[in-house]
């Protein structure tokens, strides 16, 4: 079961400058096998850097008729939630793909583009960390092999056991392959 929901309003309400929360720990990722099951992946994709060719072929839902989801055709702030429900495949992790366009570093208003990027990142983390089972607002049909767009307008839900994200090999031309083979996950 997968779900997604729009939490844009929540991230907008955050007073970043007066936030007193302590900063978390940061480290560089090193694959650790079994421990990855307890980790969630947030993939931030800057759609402005994707291939122009992919952007040209736009369809209504952003997905091709062959079942491939072209990220270049997606709009900004669209979140793709990936959920592995069965835990059969240990190499897969829960996570989400956050599409965004980086704000231009306008020299006049530094705060604006900083907060814009910050809200996008916050939205991605919210999706990645939100419990998918209890608090999802828009449940999508669990038909295997389908890619459905939620009613909120900017979320895609996919089955994780059929989705593999090539996170490392093709950063320039990222595609979310819905019907990809199971063994192509490099994680």
């Amino acid at each position: 079961m997968m779900a997604c929901f729009d939490t844009t309003m929540m991230s907008d309400d955050i007073d970043w400058l007066r936030n007193c929360r302590s900063v978390c720990k940061v480290d560089l990722y090193k694959p650790a096998g079994q421990q990855d099951q307890d980790r969630k992946v947030v993939c931030f994709v800057d759609v402005s850097t994707l291939n122009v060719e992919d952007k040209d072929c736009k369809d209504a839902a952003g997905s091709s008729s062959e079942g491939n989801l072209n990220l270049g055709n997606l709009e900004e702030k669209e979140i793709i939630v990936i959920k592995d429900t069965e835990k059969k495949y240990q190499s897969k992790m829960e996570g989400s793909v956050c599409l965004f366009k980086q704000a231009s570093s306008d020299p006049v208003s530094v705060l604006n583009w900083l907060f814009s990027d910050l809200q996008k990142y916050a939205l991605g983390f919210q999706h990645a960390l939100s419990p998918s089972t209890s608090s999802c607002k828009h449940k999508v049909g669990d038909t295997e092999g389908e890619c459905n767009r939620s009613s909120s307008g900017n979320c895609y839900s996919v089955y994780a056991n059929q989705v593999n994200i090539d996170l490392l090999n093709r950063p320039q031309n990222l595609q979310l392959e819905m019907a990809a083979t199971k063994n192509t996950n490099n994680n």
């Binding site: 007193c20 940061v26 530094v110 910050l118 990142y121 916050a122």
Partner: protein, 654 residues
């Protein structure tokens, strides 16, 4: 006489020749001096010759005594001398000189005339003395006349500038004066030596001198001693001006010091001081500040020390003074020794207060568990039992019981739910409580060590028995090992332990305050934690003891971030930092960054560690980023600087 007249004439001639020109060198001066000296010598020779001839005449006259003849001869001689003198007086000055000479001659002739009979009767020695005396007088007069004439008449020029005659005279007199003075000193010393030698050989004189010297020295020594004592007392009292009482006291002191029977000088000094204080009460009031100077304190200390030493020497030890001194030393030692215990007591008291606070807080929050008598009685029993035990060895067991109690399932579903919520709310309190109990346990161990090893063995057994109840054997061994290390370390000075305790207390206070005020945060954390796995939470409670909750108590999953963008280094680092800030907002315990192949984010863990160490919040870190971005824009506007790396900047400026 003719020779002298010739030389005088030549001298006057030369002088007459030179004087109109008005110029004369040093050679001329020496020439004149030589001339004058030769003149004096010639005149002296003539005079001696005349004397000798006159003596012979006197002898001749004495042999042929004829007053008329002698008178005629003398008159002739006198006339001849006058004529000679008249001839010699070419100038005015020479007339004066010549006049004096004539007077001398006449005097000598008169002497000769009057003393014909006497000279005849004198012996040769007296005659020689008189001759030498007369010659000396004559030479002096001649010399004075010569100098006078030189000073008056000579116009000496040196290097075309006239030299005053007084300068020349001064030079001559100085040369003579040195010799004369040295001779005079020699003769005086010789005479003095002779005189003193004679005097020192006289025993009566020596004894008299010694007696006088002794009297004078005695008087002076008494004066010196009096002055010294006056200064000493004034320094001790702090008053500079002398008073009448001081004089009296000094007199008393002097009398006492002279009395060999009086040995208690320090007592006299103290009595004198008291007397002065009593009589000069008004003055002491006005100068109260001065009287309380350090000098007075030092004086009092000296007096006390003196009394103590005196009493010790006298065999009557002053118990009061020694007691005071001993008390002071003991106080110092006890102060230094009791610092540790005081600090320890303070920390233990604060720990007990925190523990009591947490217990009360937990008791207040567990009102929903009133229906469950086990829970209430558990807390009450725990607190009371701990109070009874005084934070002893059963604290760990209590903490374990406390945790076990909250983790144990209840009899009904409602109780289970209540227990679950209570366990979530009291999670922080449990950790803090456990830490406090552990610290109190260690402090009690420390006290036991101080009291003795016999007492230490018994609670250790109790500790072992209490710890045997724990389910986790590995933790027990670990704690045993830590306690063993702690015990071994406590054998030395336990400053490090006190420091750790203080630090722990501060942390615990902060955590207690945080748990008290952050109810909403605890609730949100409880909600987030309720979705996590129970096994994960259970292990977290066991392994994470003294660390802050933000870093050791992850509410959710660890998150891996993968950025699929091909931007420059600045954008990549900025994005990573912003993602780090955003993740911190959602209490991500650990944020991993994937795909750092180019090594641009390798400094990010260092930055996060530094930020955590400095206690940066999300807002603070964001403000630093904004500051960096503004600096970057300013540099770009100037166009002179290359872009800085954000992580380097943060490492430097955080």
């Amino acid at each position: 006489q003719s020779t002298s007249a010739t030389s005088a004439k030549s001298l006057s001639t030369q002088r007459a020749v030179i004087s109109p020109d008005g110029e004369c060198s040093l050679d001329d001066l020496s020439f004149y001096v030589n001339q004058l000296s030769s003149l004096v010598i010639q005149m002296a020779r003539k005079e001696i010759k005349d004397k000798l001839e006159g003596r012979s005449k006197c002898l001749h006259h004495s042999i042929v005594p004829s007053p008329a003849v002698s008178k005629t001869a003398s008159e002739i001689a006198h006339e001849a001398m006058e004529l000679t003198a008249a001839e010699m007086c070419g100038t005015g000055e020479e007339c004066k000189e010549g006049g004096q000479k004539s007077f001398l001659y006449s005097e000598l002739s008169n002497k000769n005339k009057s003393g014909d009979k006497q000279i005849y009767q004198r012996d040769s020695k007296e005659f020689a003395d008189s001759i030498s005396k007369g010659l000396t007088v004559y030479a002096n007069r001649v010399a004075s006349d010569m100098m006078f004439s030189v000073m008056k008449t000579l116009k000496v020029h040196s290097s075309r500038k006239p030299i005053p005659a007084c300068v020349v005279l001064k030079r001559v007199l100085l040369n003579h004066a040195k010799e004369i003075v040295s001779d005079l000193i020699d003769s005086c010393m010789k005479k003095l030596h002779n005189i003193t030698g004679v005097l020192m050989a006289d025993s009566d004189f020596v004894s008299a001198v010694k007696r006088n010297l002794f009297n004078h020295g005695k008087q002076n020594a008494a004066d010196i001693m009096e002055a010294m004592l006056r200064h000493l007392v004034s320094a001790l009292i702090g008053e500079k001006k002398e008073t009448k009482s001081q004089h009296l006291s000094y007199a008393t002191l002097k009398a006492g010091s002279r009395d060999p029977k009086c040995n208690n000088k320090s007592l006299e000094l103290s009595a004198m001081k008291a007397e002065m204080k009593g009589k000069d009460k008004c003055k002491m009031k006005s100068d109260s500040c001065k009287s309380l100077t350090s000098a007075e304190k030092v004086g009092e200390h000296i007096l006390k020390e003196g009394l103590t030493m005196w009493n010790q020497k006298q065999g009557n030890p002053c118990k009061m003074v020694t007691k005071v001194c001993c008390n002071k030393d003991e106080k110092r030692e006890t102060i230094s020794a009791s610092t540790d215990s005081l600090a320890k007591d303070l920390i233990v008291s604060s720990l007990k207060l925190i523990q009591y606070h947490l217990t009360q807080q937990a008791r207040g929050k567990d009102t929903c568990e009133e229906d469950c008598p086990d829970s209430t009685t558990g807390y009450m029993a725990q607190s009371t039992q701990y109070e009874k035990c005084g934070g002893g060895q059963s604290a760990k067991a209590l903490s374990v019981k406390h945790l076990e109690f909250h983790g144990a399932p209840g009899p009904s579903t409602c109780q289970k739910e209540n227990q679950r919520i209570g366990s979530q709310k009291m999670d922080t309190s449990n950790i803090v409580l456990k830490l406090i109990q552990k610290l109190l346990n260690e402090s009690s161990n420390c006290e036991d060590l101080c009291e003795g090893e016999n007492k230490h063995s018994e609670p250790k057994v109790n500790k072992a028995t209490s710890m045997s109840k724990r389910p986790d054997e590995g933790e027990e061994q670990c704690q045993d090992h830590q306690e063993f290390d702690f015990i071994s370390g406590m054998k030395q000075v336990n400053w490090h332990f006190i420091g750790q305790l203080v630090e722990s207390v501060v942390k615990l206070c902060l955590m207690a305050e945080y748990s008290k005020n952050g109810a909403a945060l605890a609730e949100s954390e409880g909600e987030a934690a309720s979705t996590s796995k129970p096994t994960f939470r259970g292990t977290r409670c066991i392994h994470n003891d003294a660390m802050p909750q933000n870093y050791q108590d992850p509410p959710g999953h660890e998150v891996i971030v993968n950025n699929q963008c091909s931007t420059n280094s600045f954008q990549k680092q900025l994005r990573a930092v912003l993602q780090w800030i955003a993740a911190s907002q959602f209490d991500v315990p650990m944020l991993y960054f994937m795909g750092d192949d180019d090594g641009q984010l390798e400094k990010l863990p260092q930055v996060s560690a530094k930020a955590a160490e400095k206690g940066y919040s999300v807002g603070g870190l964001l403000q630093e980023v904004i500051k960096f971005a503004k600096e970057q824009q300013l540099d770009e506007a100037v166009g002179t600087m290359a872009k800085k790396q954000l992580l380097d900047w943060l490492l430097t400026n955080l």
